[in-house]
């Protein structure tokens, strides 16, 4: 169990470290894979059919479809080059680690969990979420923001599946659909931005002020 | 009766003042009846009226005269209660005089000459600054008497220090109001230094006579106010003969003082007048404080 969680966190670190869009997507795929494994593990442990289906959906969407979609975008928009950093990877890594520490401390201080594993996975997911947000803040390109967003969602799924043993089934499905739709819409907007501005550097989108 | 007395002897007082001044200057000077001669002369002279003027100009003199006559009715002379004490009391005197001044100032503006405008501007300036001092000084005395009724005031027997101070400030006000040196100079012939004279510059003949008479009476009113406030001997014991005598003596004394001041100080610049009147205001305020302290 722990190995998956650690893997997820490591993957988010690599996402923070990533200099190229492709590597970002790849590490996201890896993270989703670990997430899938974690969920699968939970499913086996709890022997709940719903969690199996959820895991399957994870595999389908987050490991296969969405990364493929993203890399399509990358290829179409020809932007394998750098993803535009506000902070250099090492500093961001430090911050990411710090975030992990904070969320761990916070979790252990404030909340009392049934089991240590729950506490650990909660802190892990919290840190993953935070790191995803961090990626959204400190990466310039639109696509990297999308990936950060997806990373945050991974964190959420981690909580949902591991800590609280899976949400009600149709809720999960709905959320999946929602995520998928939103990613698609993000993609559409990325295309539009690229068409209008001939770049997807959203840090340059600052005409609307005051 | 008494008011008629005032109106009649009013010009003579100005004559006396002139006499005193001349004597102090080692001159003979005109007799004390000279003002009467002037009035009569003006009264029968032909009147020249500017064609720019309106009805304001022509009714102003009579209003002025009427106002001072009414004011004269309100002043206690040598009996306790003035004739028109049903009409009002000393505040009314101030306001009535203001009425006359208002119309005179308008008349000064009416002809459209710059002297008239200058005169009325300065006149309103001085009088508006003088008003608080006048009111407060009389009020200080009424604090002593415990009433604002003039008759009652002048029947108050004890002479207090505060009332002397009040009388002093009232004297300064009177100097300002009756356009005497150091505020104004009645005898000047240079328009730019005039205040009152400049305002009535356009008047001639009978109207001028009215205005002159009015200013004499006004001066008389102030003097008798001072007299009855400073030393309410006039009504001591109610012996009418004694009262009249005392009153006349006081009036003579005051006019002597005024004349002495006129020859002994030089005329002020217009904007020093502010300090002069502020000083009189402070004195009257001091008088109030003193009288509250009970002296």
């Amino acid at each position: 169990m722990y190995i998956f969680l650690i893997g997820i966190i490591i993957m988010s670190y690599t996402m923070v470290m990533a200099k190229r869009m492709t590597s970002l997507v790849a590490s996201f795929r890896m993270q989703s894979l670990f997430l899938f494994l974690a969920t699968f593990f939970m499913a086996m442990k709890e022997k709940s059919a719903e969690l199996y289906i959820v895991a399957g959906l994870l595999l389908l969407l987050k490991v296969i479809l969405i990364p493929k979609f993203l890399s399509d975008i990358i290829r179409k928009l020809k932007m394998e080059e750098g993803i535009g950093l506000f902070l250099n990877p090492l500093v961001s890594l430090l911050i990411a680690v710090f975030l992990t520490y904070i969320s761990y401390v916070f979790t252990t201080r404030v909340i009392t969990f049934a089991s240590a594993s729950q506490a650990f996975s909660f802190s892990a997911s919290l840190s993953v979420t935070m790191i995803g947000l961090f990626i959204m803040i400190f990466r310039m390109k639109a696509l990297s923001q999308v990936i950060g967003f997806l990373a945050m969602e991974n964190g959420l799924f981690l909580v949902a599946s591991t800590v609280s043993g899976g949400m009600p089934f149709f809720v999960e499905i709905a959320i999946f659909m929602d995520v998928f739709v939103s990613v698609v819409i993000f993609g559409i907007f990325i295309y539009r931005i690229n068409k209008l501005f001939t770049h997807i550097d959203v840090s340059k989108l600052n005409t609307l002020r005051r | 009766m008494e008011s008629l007395f005032i109106i009649i002897i009013a010009p003579m007082v100005s004559g006396i003042i002139t006499k005193v001044k001349n004597n102090l200057r080692m001159r003979v000077g005109p007799g004390v009846f000279q003002p009467y001669y002037n009035l009569i002369k003006l009264f029968y002279k032909e009147e020249v009226v500017s064609d720019k003027t309106s009805w304001i100009f022509s009714i102003a003199p009579s209003i002025v005269l009427a106002s001072v006559v009414l004011a004269a009715l309100l002043v206690p002379i040598f009996t306790i209660t003035p004739y028109a004490h049903h009409v009002g009391e000393f505040l009314l005197i101030i306001f009535i005089l203001a009425l006359g001044r208002f119309f005179l100032a308008l008349a000064g503006l009416d002809a459209g000459s710059s002297f008239g405008g200058m005169g009325s501007s300065r006149e309103m300036f001085i009088s508006s600054l003088a008003e608080p001092a006048a009111i407060l000084s009389i009020f200080a005395v009424s604090l002593n008497a415990g009433t604002t009724n003039l008759g009652a005031i002048s029947s108050a027997h004890a002479v207090k220090f505060s009332s002397i101070a009040a009388g002093l400030s009232l004297l300064m006000v009177a100097i300002a109001e009756t356009s005497r040196i150091p505020i104004d100079n009645q005898e000047t012939h240079l328009e730019l230094t005039m205040i009152h004279e400049a305002m009535v510059l356009e008047y001639s003949g009978r109207s001028l006579a009215f205005i002159e008479l009015a200013s004499h009476i006004k001066q008389m009113i102030f003097f008798s106010l001072i007299a009855n406030i400073l030393f309410p001997f006039a009504v001591l014991g109610g012996n009418i003969v004694f009262g009249i005598a005392a009153y006349i003596l006081e009036i003579l004394a005051i006019s002597a003082v005024v004349g002495f001041i006129e020859v002994s100080v030089a005329k002020m610049r217009l904007f020093r007048v502010v300090d002069f009147l502020a000083f009189s205001f402070v004195i009257s305020l001091a008088a109030i404080v003193i009288s509250i302290m009970g002296a």
Partner: protein, 610 residues
């Protein structure tokens, strides 16, 4: 549940309300009549219909303000009144000036209303009802600290509407911009609703709780008197001049009201009633003669098309009736007997005198005599100011082209003016009668009966120890004056008269350029009060070459103290803060997301603080 406040119309027609209603209609009626002629001259039929709609709405809202019986309905009527008057201020909506004036006016009055609202709601906390009567009962259980706060709030709010210094700045903007008949209503009546508020909510409902209330009002009133009249002296726009005089007269009214509050606290009912009467009397007087003056000013404006008195003159020949009405109004406002302004100022002065004759402490005695002095000074300055106004507008020769081909105003305008002229005189001569009426009003407000104290205009005395009373009978004054004047005419008449030029020192062509100007007239005052006005001059040389100056321009200004040292810094502060905050919305989405990040972090860290 749900109806926390009932917006049911409940009225309270006690003497105070009736008094104010009568004031409202006394001024609104002639102004409405006047407006017939006034509007027809300037505006299109649609605009005229609009104006009539607004006028009726305005009058109704004012009537509601003074007659409703619940604080909530009062608040609503109050705001509607402000709204309608705003629309009236921006009536000439094409002009940038009137729009700006409207903004200043509405913002000021709204800030005032915010204070009033807060005060009401704090009272409502104790009463659990907006009804006047229950508020009055609740004020008994209010702790005095709360009472003080409520008083300050109400004073600020109503003072803003009444235009007492330093909340007066909207007044000289708003009043001149409205059409003249509206200016007369606004300046004559609307600002009085502020006084109504103070009387109704402070004296009647809250009850005078501590000494400093009245004293504070007295101080503010004195300041308002002087500031108003001094600015009026410096002002050359006729309608602005009148607006500043409204500030002054509000000060005089409040002198009466404030002293009555002091006496109520000192438990001297007789004096309290008396000075309240003085205040109310001046209130109605000011309504009448200020309305009259504004109507006349409007007549002059519509006849000549300018409000700058430096460019007017000689109108007494062109429009005699307007001149006469203006003269009456001017005499009244400069407190000349036997007109109404004189009566009320006389009453106020008497109140001060008797007060300091009978007041307990020496400090109060001196304080009151100072108030009297201020009032006297104000009266003198006002007289000077109106000599200037009347002289420059109506007397001598026209100072520019515009007044030369002026003509007398139309019939309806004349009617409006004459109506008010009549009341100006009537309120002066019928003083005794009016006094008796106002006594009823004042007694009902202060809710104390003074049957014991002998109190009538002729011969009133407050304490037994007093030697004898003082009298005033304006009819007798008028009678004697008239008699003497007639006597003079009958006795002497006038001997032969020769029309000739004005004395010109032998200068051959004396023209309107030689006339004394308003600026020149007010110069002595400008120099006397330079510590407050801070006059400064600007000279400008239009030169052809370095050596040859074609013309030389010399202007003199006065510093608007309150705006410069009170309002501009405040506004500047607000704007700098806003400009600083602008950086929040920098346009960078990363920054936006980081806001969320920071917020959540802060919240989590300080979670247990909440």
């Amino acid at each position: 549940m749900g109806n926390f406040f009932d917006i049911r119309m409940s009225f309270l027609f006690d003497p105070l309300a009736v008094f104010f209603l009568s004031v409202i209609f006394l001024v609104s009626l002639p102004s409405a009549v006047y407006s017939i002629g006034y509007l027809a001259k300037k505006y299109s039929p649609r605009k005229i219909a609009y104006a009539w709609f607004l006028l009726t709405a305005f009058i109704i809202s004012m009537a509601l303000v003074v007659s409703v019986a619940s604080a909530l309905t009062f608040l609503i009527a109050w705001e509607i009144m402000s709204l309608v008057s705003y629309f009236l201020v921006v009536f000439d909506s094409k002009e940038e000036k009137s729009v700006q004036a409207g903004v200043i006016y509405l913002v000021m009055t709204h800030v005032g209303t915010a204070f009033i609202m807060a005060g009401f709601l704090i009272m409502h906390k104790y009463a659990n009802s907006f009804d006047f009567i229950s508020l009055k009962q609740a004020s008994a259980i209010m702790p005095s600290s709360v009472k003080n706060i409520v008083f300050l709030f109400l004073l600020t709010g109503f003072g803003t509407k009444a235009g007492i210094v330093p909340f007066h700045i909207w007044l000289p903007y708003a009043h001149p911009q409205a059409p003249s008949h509206i200016s007369s209503i606004m300046s004559g009546v609307m600002i009085k609703t502020g006084i109504y508020g103070i009387i109704r909510f402070v004296i009647f409902i809250l009850g005078v709780d501590s000494m400093w209330w009245g004293s504070l009002i007295l101080v503010l009133a004195g300041v308002s008197c002087l500031v108003g009249v001094i600015y009026a002296l410096m002002e050359h726009d006729i309608k602005k001049l009148l607006a500043y005089h409204s500030i002054e007269n509000i000060g005089i009214i409040l002198l009466g009201v404030g002293s009555s509050m002091v006496f109520l606290k000192l438990n001297m009912p007789g004096l309290a009633i008396f000075s309240l009467i003085a205040g109310l009397y001046h209130l109605i007087n000011h309504a009448v003669f200020k309305g009259l003056l504004f109507l006349c000013a409007g007549g002059v404006y519509s006849a000549t098309g300018t409000r700058d008195i430096e460019r007017l003159g000689g109108l007494i020949k062109k429009m005699p009736l307007t001149a006469f009405s203006f003269l009456i109004g001017a005499m009244a406002i400069s407190a000349l007997p036997p007109l109404n302004g004189f009566v009320s100022e006389w009453l106020t002065l008497q109140a001060f005198f008797v007060a300091s004759l009978t007041a307990c402490t020496a400090g109060l005695k001196i304080f009151f005599s100072l108030c009297a002095a201020i009032l006297a000074l104000t009266g003198g300055l006002a007289a000077a100011c109106f000599v200037k106004a009347f002289g420059m507008v109506f007397l001598a020769m026209p100072r520019s082209k515009s007044p030369e081909n002026a003509s007398e105003v139309s019939l309806s305008m004349k009617t409006g003016m004459l109506f008010l002229v009549f009341f100006t005189i009537a309120l002066g001569l019928g003083a005794g009668f009016v006094f008796r009426l106002l006594k009823v009003v004042a007694q009902s407000v202060a809710s104390c009966d003074i049957g014991a104290v002998k109190l009538s205009l002729n011969d009133f005395m407050f304490l037994e120890g007093q030697a004898s009373g003082v009298n005033l009978s304006t009819p007798l004054v008028a009678l004697i004056l008239g008699a003497v004047m007639i006597g003079i005419y009958l006795g002497f008449g006038r001997n032969k008269i020769r029309k000739y030029n004005t004395w010109d020192c032998g200068y051959y062509k004396l023209g309107s350029r030689n006339e004394y100007t308003a600026t020149g007239f007010s110069k002595p005052f400008r120099i006397a009060f330079n510590f407050f006005l801070m006059p400064y001059t600007r000279t400008e040389k239009l030169r052809k070459s370095f050596y040859y100056i074609r013309s030389f321009k010399y202007e003199t200004f006065t510093t608007p103290v309150f705006k410069k040292y009170m309002y501009y810094p405040l506004i500047g502060m607000i704007f700098t803060t806003a400009k600083f905050m602008r950086r929040l919305q920098s346009g960078s989405i990363h920054m936006y997301i980081s806001y969320i990040f920071i917020t959540i972090l802060v919240l989590i860290i300080f979670m247990n603080k909440f």
